[in-house]
Amino acid sequence: MVGEALAFYLLAAITLASGIVVVTSPNLVHSAVALVPALLGVTGLYILLNAEFLAGVQVLIYAGGITVLILFVIMLTEGATGLRVPQRNEQGPIGAAVAGAAAAVLIAVATRTPWAHGAGVLPSYTPGAIGESFLGPNLLLFEGTSVVLLVTLVGAILIARKED
């Protein structure tokens, strides 16, 4: 249990520290690169919760896919000049106050709610169960998400295509 607690605090610290860099760094590329340790920290938390499949997908899609996409877009649009774009303006204190209030409310809610423990035990091999859930009880959600992604893809191609 001590190890688990240590791992949790270490991962949480990594996630939070990189998250702060993501939102405060004046350099867009630094922000995007700092996303990687933040996402990997969340991956570690998934592993602590015995959700290995989710952890694998998180690294594959977010750390290795989305981050690369973000970096790619930044480098193409900015001409790689390393422009320093300040991420803060005069509304900083108000934003910080709102964020702090929201965090306080969330922490209060999370600590005061009597959380129900899930019934049953985790299967030792979750990918199969996840697949069955996607194509069984959650079929409509799964197909809905697929359609949304497909529409996004077609829309992106339509916008990017030059009119002949």
């Binding site: 630094h30 690169v33 694998g56 750390a63 290795g64 790619f72 480098m75 790689a80």
Partner: protein, 328 residues
């Protein structure tokens, strides 16, 4: 699985890291570079390195000692943080692959650092992190050639991850598991290369592109981009990128052995020897291809992935899924 105290687990991770790192550094990077030079020399009717050590065997050791003594140059306009940290990301992502590769079997069980039940997914995830390191190196160098190499690599590796992923799903479906050990055990009677030849061809082509080797070496095309994303790196940092590259190539070859050639299985000889034989045969094919075919253009490369490999891999996946359903 037996639960160990957490500090034993941490200690085991540290020892495992040191063993994997040194083994990979010696076996893949040193031997790999030497093999590459000897094979390229043989294909081009040259002699290759012969002077250092018996038959030139110590050439890479000498080169490593030389690189260790070199100065670390940070270009004036480079982004210091990104430039320096990219060096760690690339070899680290490559070395992480080795956690799930089974090298052989003993009476106590398979010789593997950790048989994860998401084995091949883990492999795909860790190797996808290499792109981040390459992009960081390309952008951090503040050099147009390095940046071009980095951008090409992002487009290329993201495109070729998809056919690899589809092949991994196909094989996992046949074996009924994502675990590498279970996949090897499923090939006791018939290697997947026999039942899934199309998958193997797709995997091998995509693997060559994933590890940025000729004919898909646009990322570091010497004749156009100096050395691509690592043009600006000197000394041991340059060597670490080489380690990452060769480590990833050997990992891809080892994954191909695991997925298609029955892993460690074979008659008479010890399992580790069989694994190494198969591994080095595949590594030889990688090098043979590299020194035989000329480089593709970037549009040919991307079109090939999106218009040929991915549709074929998808069709193969659907047909395999159909057969798996019929059999069960």
């Amino acid at each position: 699985m037996d639960v160990m105290p957490w500090y034993v687990e941490v200690l085991r991770a540290i020892v495992g890291t040191i063993i994997i790192f040194s083994a990979v550094a010696i076996v893949t990077a040193m031997l790999g570079v030497l093999l590459e030079r000897r094979i390229s020399a043989w294909i081009q009717s040259r002699i290759g390195p012969v002077h250092v050590g018996p038959r030139g065997l110590l050439q890479t050791v000498a080169n490593t000692v030389k690189l260790l003594q070199k100065e670390y140059i940070l270009p004036r306009n480079a982004d210091a943080v990104i430039f320096s940290s990219a060096v760690i990301v690339v070899p680290l992502a490559a070395l992480l692959d080795y956690v799930v590769l089974p090298f052989g079997t003993t009476r106590a069980g398979p010789l593997i650092y950790r048989d994860l039940n998401i084995g091949v997914l883990y492999f795909a995830a860790t190797s996808s992190l290499i792109v981040v390191g390459i992009l960081m190196a390309g952008w951090g160098s503040n050099n147009k050639y390095a940046l071009l190499g980095g951008l090409r690599s992002a487009a290329q590796m993201v495109s070729y991850e998809i056919p690899i992923g589809l092949v991994l799903i196909t094989i996992a479906m046949l074996a009924g598991s994502l675990s590498t050990v279970t996949i090897v055990n499923a090939q006791t009677h018939l290697w997947f290369i026999v039942s899934q030849p199309v998958s193997f061809v797709i995997f091998f082509v995509a693997a060559i592109a994933e590890v940025n080797r000729a004919p898909f070496d646009l990322v570091e095309a010497e004749s156009e981009l100096v050395a691509g994303y690592f043009s600006e790196y000197t000394g041991m940092r340059f060597a670490l990128f080489q380690l990452g590259e060769y480590g990833e190539m050997f990992a891809m070859a080892a994954l191909a052995v695991t997925l298609f050639f029955g892993g460690w299985q074979g008659p008479v000889l010890p399992s580790v020897v069989w694994f190494l034989i198969k591994l080095y045969v595949l590594v030889f094919v990688f090098m043979w291809v590299r020194w035989t075919y000329p480089r593709f253009r970037i549009d040919q490369l991307l079109n090939f992935s999106w218009k040929i490999l991915i549709p074929v891999a998808l069709a193969n996946l659907v047909v395999t899924a159909f057969f798996v359903i019929v059999v069960h």
